[in-house]
């Protein structure tokens, strides 16, 4: 078996007196799709943001995509190229055109020649189903379109691993599907993905493994069929009941 693409050991994260992560150990294999579920405040997003060091861990060691992220001399800028991230609120560069959102990172980060960067940008936009919007500004696109562009932008610097932080939570229900379709395609191509999500149907269909977080620890994990259908712990059971039957 090859070395895991993500290895997290003894991860703790405190914000002031509030310990959000209380000892996380996690390994993710290359090509694996892992969904993180759990109640709000359980530490899912913080865990995700620790992987590319957008949050600095208080304690613990993280290696990701071959980079020792928590080493004191880690070159995080170099490492983050290999770790794509998609945000809840898209965070497209609002002053740039859609095309430039994909071209500029390639030009500035990877020093890709312009013609090549533009060609790659167009290819990626086509792949996520955004065409004829190259010169539009992000604000002129729908949320679903913006998020698909954001996924394409993250892919533009050729990451080996993708982090998704509640990618569909800010979207209207009827356009969630178009973003999930793109993510499914990405998973099918073999991309390693770590996804914080509330979309249980997506987790069930696409995830290789589901992690249930609560109170800053991984309470339960396993194949989606087990965790989502027959959770072993009472906490996971009651969470899933609330998510799947909100009206009860």
């Amino acid at each position: 078996m090859t070395a895991p693409i993500v290895r997290i050991e003894g991860l703790r994260k405190r914000f002031g007196d509030n310990e959000v992560l209380r000892g996380i150990d996690l390994e993710i294999a290359e090509g694996e799709v892992v969904c993180l579920i759990g109640p709000s405040g359980s530490g899912k997003s913080t865990l995700l943001r620790c992987v590319n060091l957008l949050e600095e861990p208080t304690e613990g060691a993280i290696t990701a995509a071959g980079h020792d992220m928590t080493a004191p001399d880690a070159d995080l800028d170099l490492a983050r190229r290999d770790i794509g991230m998609v945000f809840q609120h898209f965070n497209l560069f609002s002053h740039m055109t859609i095309l430039d959102n994909l071209v500029i990172p390639q030009r500035r980060v990877c020093k890709t020649p312009k013609a090549e960067a533009v060609a790659e940008a167009r290819r990626l936009l086509a792949e996520v189903g955004i065409e004829g919007k190259e010169d539009a500004r992000p604000a002129q696109l729908s949320g679903g379109q913006q998020q698909r562009v954001a996924i394409a932008r993250a892919l533009a610097v050729k990451p080996r691993l993708m982090l998704f932080d509640e990618p569909t939570s800010a979207l209207d229900p009827e356009i969630v599907g178009e973003v999930l379709e793109v993510m499914k395609g990405l998973a099918a191509e073999g991309m390693t993905m770590l996804v914080v999500t509330h979309e249980m149907a997506f987790a069930r269909e696409v995830a290789d493994r589901v992690l249930f977080l609560d109170g800053g620890v991984i309470v339960e994990q396993g194949p989606p069929a087990e965790v989502l259908t027959a959770p072993k712990t009472e906490r996971a059971r009651s969470f899933l009941h609330r998510v799947l039957h909100p009206a009860d």
Binding site: N91, F93, S94, H95, R108, A150
Partner: protein, 274 residues
Amino acid sequence: MDTATDTAPARGARMTARGRRRLARTLQYAAIVAVVAVLAFAADWDRIAASFLQFDIAADMFPDVWTSFWNTIVYTVLAFAFGMVVGIPIALMRVSAFGPYRWFATAYVEVFRGLPALLVLFLVGFGVPQAFPGIQYPGGVYGQVAIGLGLTSSAYIAESVRAGIQAVPKGQVEAARSLGMSHTRTMVTVVLPQALRIVVPPLTNELVMLTKDSSLVFVLGVTTATMELSKFARNELTDTANATPLLVGGLLYLLLTIPLGLLARRLENREDKR
């Protein structure tokens, strides 16, 4: 109207809200008309016209006034350029994670925002040359003005730009960093371009202020060739013993500042559409 036939106390009580608003507005119009009428009758119009509206004096100012008009523009642009070139790095230092940069930038802003522009101009024009004999400003009086007015301006510009930087959503920075951009690269490529768009209105305001502050340049001792608009108008005032040059000078300032205001509004609207 039947309210008019009601007795006064009953009318107040029974009047509709709209009726009350209409009455209030009518009273205000009436008051304004009264004030204008009193002024129109009380003022000595011949005297005012003789002081401000001597067309031959106004005509005599041309074409020489254009030199000073042009100098006003040049001084303003030079000072603004200096203000931007110095102000933006100061703004970046203000938000730096490195303490000494922040302390220096804070002190700089406090000093040059706190000192009167006139005093700074004196310092640059007379204090510095005295303390450092033989010092030469590039461009002579133009260099003195750029620095003398620019120092004050840079403090205001730095504060505006700092506010702009802090108004850029945190998600923009996180997105840039997650793509592998360095801190500096993120600032240059993502944060500053957005911050500068945000601060277009306050910067235009600063440009208008500078246009007016350029009238302080006379303290450096200017010649006919380097005179700005206020000094020119004041000279004409002395020469002709008439106030018409002030009116002409004032109108020429407005010719500069009003288009700037309109431009700012247009830029603002354009940004809103994003």
